[in-house]
């Protein structure tokens, strides 16, 4: 088979699902009726990002500079047929995986970090601020900032900060600053620390700190997941996958991916939403947002600075147990994804840590790639799916949202 030019695979536009949803998305809501947190977004987000958040356009042109950067960091990412995995499962069908782990930073997060940093720089901002749990988003932010010649500050959930020194090193190598959250740098961080000096931190607290810090310093905040703009940027995954399947003469019966805030899954699956393709979103059993969460308006950050969104949520004060898949330890899921799940268009599964670790091993031994603990949840669902006699003969495509090489240090032998 000939190698298709990368430029033919990379789409020139991002896809925004909002105009194609079966029901209107409920708009963001203020948590504090006296204030406007939507107005606050004007202060912390680049204008272009905010415009994309509320746009009615189905497509957004990707700036040429961003396309160039996408090519530099390894896009398009490979779509690989997992023949070895098929064999070991005895699956009479096809399994493909989209390898987002093949990007420079090792996950899909760079897909939205690049445009967000690009728009921030275009508006003359010197520094971007964000939070990170597992470290993947912080790494992507640091690289995207550097490639756009701006600085980055990253509030890293304290447990990760302590358990994942390699992440800090990479971020530093890219020129970013990391702080353990809760920190003394923000009012909210100080408040949390006053109550519990040894607080291990949560993603919700780190988001609150990053937003407060950006506000105070006049910097821009980078959004890692959940928000619509992020999902739109991540549509590059699904659009590439569609084209790659087309070139291979294949079509997907089923798409599978993992869900933290919902960005990799949504970006991967939404470009297929108008087709008949079955879609399965896998969350962690320890963070059972789909089976035990409510579909309701809820905070996305613990401090309640950002507007509330309507989504499946376990409550913004839910403190998830510490699992390896730090990226899945989030109480909510993107509104458009939540809506499609509630409508029944997208099915859900929940996978335990134990099962995901088993899946990690099977995938490493068959395909040679160490999957991220988050992505291992998707693989566990793939394995179950392919073992089901009813699914023989189908073509399953899953999103390998990242590699797990940097997570291995925390995993017990």
């Amino acid at each position: 088979m000939y190698k298709i030019a990368d430029e033919e695979i990379i789409p020139r536009r991002w896809y925004n699902i909002v105009p194609d949803l079966p029901e209107p998305l409920s708009p963001p809501r203020d948590h504090d009726p006296e204030k406007s947190s939507i107005d606050l977004l004007n202060k912390i987000l680049p204008k272009e990002i905010l415009r994309q958040e509320f746009t009615s356009s189905r497509y957004e042109d990707i700036p040429d500079e961003v396309i160039e950067q996408y090519l530099q960091i390894g896009r398009p990412t490979p779509l690989v047929r997992a023949v070895n995995l098929e064999r070991i499962l005895g699956f009479r069908g096809k399994i493909f995986f989209k390898n987002e782990g093949a990007t420079a930073t090792g996950s899909h997060k760079i897909n939205t970090a690049l445009p967000q940093a690009y728009y921030a720089r275009k508006e003359g901002v010197e520094e971007v601020v964000t939070e990170t749990g597992a470290g993947q988003w912080g790494t992507a932010t640091a690289l995207a900032a550097t490639l756009n010649n701006i600085r980055s500050t990253i509030f890293m959930v304290r447990v990760s900060y302590e358990q994942k020194p390699l992440r800090k090193k990479i971020i530093k190598l890219y020129g970013g600053n990391t702080y353990a959250s809760p920190s003394n740098l923000t009012e909210y961080g100080r408040k949390v620390l006053a109550k519990d000096p040894g607080h291990p931190g949560t993603l919700g607290i780190a988001i609150s700190e990053a937003v407060q810090y950006a506000l105070e310093k006049g910097y821009k905040y980078m959004m890692g997941s959940v928000e619509n703009t992020v999902i739109t940027h991540q549509s590059i995954i699904g659009q590439e996958t569609r084209r790659q399947l087309e070139f291979m003469g294949e079509s997907a019966d089923t798409l599978i991916g993992c869900v933290g805030g919902g960005s990799n899954f949504s970006g991967f699956s939404f470009p297929f939403v108008e087709s008949e393709t079955e879609m399965i979103a896998t969350a962690a059993s320890e963070v059972p947002k789909f089976s035990k969460g409510d579909y309701k308006y809820d905070l996305i950050d613990t401090a309640g600075i950002m507007p509330e969104l309507k989504m499946f949520s376990l409550g913004s004060d839910f403190v998830p147990p510490s699992i390896y898949a730090g990226g899945l330890r989030y109480h909510g899921a993107a509104p458009a994804l939540s809506l499609l799940i509630r409508e029944g268009r997208i099915k859900t599964e929940e996978v335990t840590e134990e099962k995901s670790m088993e899946a990690m091993g099977i995938f490493a031994r068959t395909q040679g790639i160490v999957p991220a603990p988050e992505s291992s949840h998707a693989i566990a669902t793939v394995i179950d799916y392919c073992k089901n006699p009813e699914n023989q003969g189908k073509t399953v495509v899953f999103n390998l949202s990242g590699h797990g090489l940097l997570d291995l240090s925390i995993i017990r032998d």
Partner: protein, 244 residues
């Protein structure tokens, strides 16, 4: 273009409301929108949200009836902006009451998002009483919903420019107007939510909007009881809408 003026009824209190309402009648405008106060007007921005409290405390149905009557006698069409919770019980009575007061129809800002399954039931119930539902769309309303709801209603359409009132996030006006226009080419489309100056009015006019609805920008002068600034504000709107 047409001009619609929004007031939360009766903000800030009965006596001042009457004065400002009479003041407004000295100006040219087409539609009067009266917001019925509600406990948690969550789709309104902070400025209008604040008005619901004192309006709620001063609410009087008789005064509402008189206000509508007077507006109609001055050739204004009158609509109400009302949250769905008002329809939850005794819907028929509530609708009949609106009709008897002289309202032409209602805008229900949370209907399509939070009470989506009930949308056509409400449209039918309103039609039965001779009231029109004014569909409230935003840039987040999916194409299919716009087509469906447009197909079941026949009065004008209210399109929110912004995610809530009195707020300005960046939007491409042209794109937004073209999109809604292409989805409902035959209908009158009035834009509201966050309109607060000549620039945006001009932009909307140039994009082919049929009209604008304004609320938040009238409130500061009502809050400070400044009739002169109230007149200046409406005058600016009149010039923008009806001027060259």
């Amino acid at each position: 273009m047409k001009l619609a003026l929004y007031f939360t009824f009766p903000y800030p209190n009965r006596e001042s409301f009457i004065r400002f309402f009479h003041g407004s009648l000295n100006h040219k405008y087409d539609y009067l929108e009266l917001g019925i106060p509600t406990e948690f007007p969550y789709y309104d921005g902070p400025i209008i949200r604040k008005t619901h409290k004192s309006a709620g405390e001063n609410y009087s149905e008789n005064l509402l009836r008189e206000t509508v009557k007077e507006a109609i006698s001055k050739k204004r069409k009158v609509y109400t902006l009302v949250y769905y919770n008002h329809f939850k019980k005794d819907r028929k009575d509530f609708l009949q009451n609106l009709k008897s007061m002289g309202f032409s129809g209602a805008i229900v800002p949370d209907l399509l998002t939070d009470f989506f399954p009930e949308r056509f039931e409400l449209v039918d119930a309103m039609n039965e009483e001779g009231l029109s539902l004014i569909p409230f769309f935003t840039s987040s309303t999916p194409d299919k919903i716009i087509r469906d709801v447009t197909g079941r209603t026949d009065d004008w359409i209210y399109h929110g420019l912004q995610p809530s009132t009195g707020i300005r996030v960046p939007v491409s006006t042209d794109l937004m107007v073209n999109r809604i226009r292409s989805l409902c080419p035959e209908r009158e489309i009035i834009f509201g939510f966050g309109i607060n100056g000549p620039e945006i009015i001009h932009e909307l006019k140039a994009s082919g909007a049929d009209g604008i609805a304004v609320g938040s920008s009238l409130i500061p002068s009502m809050e400070t009881d400044d009739m002169d600034s109230f007149h200046r504000e409406i005058h600016m709107l009149e010039e923008g809408v009806y001027g060259e």
